[in-house]
Symmetry: C2
Subunit: 434 residues, 2 copies
Amino acid sequence: MATATSSVADICRAAKRAAATLARTQTETKDAALLAIAQALQSRSEQILLANEADMTAGEQDGMDAALLDRLRLDEARISAIAGAVRQIAALPDPVGEVVEGKRLPNGLDVRKVRVPLGVVAVVYEARPNVTIDAAALCLKAGNAIVLRGSSAAQHSNAALAQLAAEAVVASGLPEGAVSLLRGGDRAELGELATQRESVDLIIPRGGESLKEALQLLATVPVIYAASGNCHVYVDAAADLEQAEAIAINAKVQRPGVCNAAETLLVHRDVAAEFIPRLLPGLAACGVLVRGDARTLSLASGGEGGRDALAPAGELLLESAQQSDWATEYLDLVLAVRVVDSLAEAIEHIGRYGSGHSEAIVTRDRDAARAFQLGVDAACVYVNASTRFTDGGEFGMGAEIGNSTQKLHARGPIGLRELCTTKYLVEGDGQIRG
Amino acid sequence: MATATSSVADICRAAKRAAATLARTQTETKDAALLAIAQALQSRSEQILLANEADMTAGEQDGMDAALLDRLRLDEARISAIAGAVRQIAALPDPVGEVVEGKRLPNGLDVRKVRVPLGVVAVVYEARPNVTIDAAALCLKAGNAIVLRGSSAAQHSNAALAQLAAEAVVASGLPEGAVSLLRGGDRAELGELATQRESVDLIIPRGGESLKEALQLLATVPVIYAASGNCHVYVDAAADLEQAEAIAINAKVQRPGVCNAAETLLVHRDVAAEFIPRLLPGLAACGVLVRGDARTLSLASGGEGGRDALAPAGELLLESAQQSDWATEYLDLVLAVRVVDSLAEAIEHIGRYGSGHSEAIVTRDRDAARAFQLGVDAACVYVNASTRFTDGGEFGMGAEIGNSTQKLHARGPIGLRELCTTKYLVEGDGQIRG
């Protein structure tokens, strides 16, 4: 692996040289390299845990909060899980060489569009050290060299993991430079990485808004921005309300801190009087604060199953929604709730406030389902299922390196195919153009 | 159509509203609109020609050179050709709704990845007024609204064509705002267009390097940069030399001013002594200036079929190549020629100097062909055919809006599919994530 004293440009150039070889490396060699990484993770777990301990100690001394410390922490079980994910990636079909489409032209030329690696992929990430291995495994399987840049908070863990991966792949016959780790932590380095147009084909940031904003200013290399998710569940007039309740709660609470969790619930007025008083106790039981529009508040405080039922012992789990709530990605146990007059109003609301990530309708009405799927412009549009399924693993892509809400190249989970480009192979017998 | 007094932002917002309707418009309605454009082109040709005459007169007064004036000029035959291209696009399969992939997940969710329109596509172009109609027809067929920005030199022609298209599509039932034309000509307007992230999904520039550079500085909207093409023909040791000669000449001279024309010829040393003296008279007859490396010059000036044969009457069609020639896209009757020691050296040369557009090998050796196709990183890699076939029309895509040498989203001809994105449609029966 490139040493910490190499320049960013040197590391990226070495990655580009490695990429040329990787692009022609057979699947079985790449898979053997991934299995070697998985093996090394387990045989060298002590060393990884020691490095992680150094990061944890520094984090505690710096006053890092408990949630971040938990993201940073590795243990035997987590290392096993990382190794398991690598083995799963090894078991996936190789996207490289897949024929996407092909035909014979009238002049006899045979044209095939085939998937080929992108080349060099840089992944810039924060905190969680497992990304080091996940990202490396996905990129290598797709035939790409990877340049990793983690945060300084995880520097020892990342260095141990990247070192191990780099050694394992070289021992398996992949080229030097296939996996490298930048020092991390300073903005000048990010700027240098983001402008290596000659050698880096794609940057994928995995981190907060400040990282994205920095890249938007700095990057001349193409970037796929992983998504923020302002996701909605719409309960239609024709919803099965039991199903709707389960989906709304699951979409909100099963893992509220991730991008495919729901942030706003829209309820058709025809079922609002029954559904909202029914749903709110369940949300309250999960600790969810509801920010409701006027109709929601009114339904919650009056009528059967009203406010008393859901806010026992004076606990206030209900507030009035502000305009800004519709545009907020809480990533927390907070849910905005609005009653709408029609399916069209729900679609319009989602069009205005949604981030194009994952949107769900709950309905038994076939026309409503179809209108929602056609009318909502998002990466994933669900009928009668939780938004939480937007995930490379859930979609059978094996793993993902993020979720794209942009429309170009990749929309939705970024898996092996999305880490590739295509090439037209054209074969003839001397054809010239007339 | 939006008037010239509307702001860029207003026009783009109107296009976004139109796009929401267009995305749900049926194929037969879109096709009828295209046929109405084709019809209007012919029934209103007099009006178009009058507008074009105004541009031609202004161009002559401004001292525009003959080549540019020819690109600007319309006549009945050219208008017929434009109408014919629109009819061809109408006859193509609709990319919208195409299921790209799909499966049932273990939990019973049915997942389909379907093609959907991008939304609003802006096309920024120079000189040739036919682009107004070509681009509009392609974008509309793919369900996108289009915002056009031509050059001031073609302003009257573009206005007449865009007006006609906008009227024809509205008369056919497509929404207002589906086709709009910006005033064109000033840099501030380009900057405004290039930052309409809320409403514009993609900008495609069709013009020279200065336009691309301007967009690289200005654009926050995604851009697909149409290609420059430094394309190579490599004549392998095992080439059929008759075929090689025909391909090399075709790739250079059939239309030298376009991006898929060859700029450098690489010749394996084993056939150079036979091939170069054989080829040069043919190139000279077509008026091609050869910039050769030392071995090429030596072969051309000595031996059988040498220099005397190819530069009759003292005409000098042979110069010494400089280092910079290998990186130059001449777009003219100039060809750089280099003798290489091996296939590997040819691949390396192309890797260093090529722009990733179109690269060809001429060989009867199956292993050489395969190594070249695997080893050359370009949008289109040819065996025994001219590079001139890289074209949406030739590839059976009907038409193209440019040729991409970038690796993300679209690589090669940008046709109807490349003017789309995808959306995952997920259908369930109440699935929630455990």
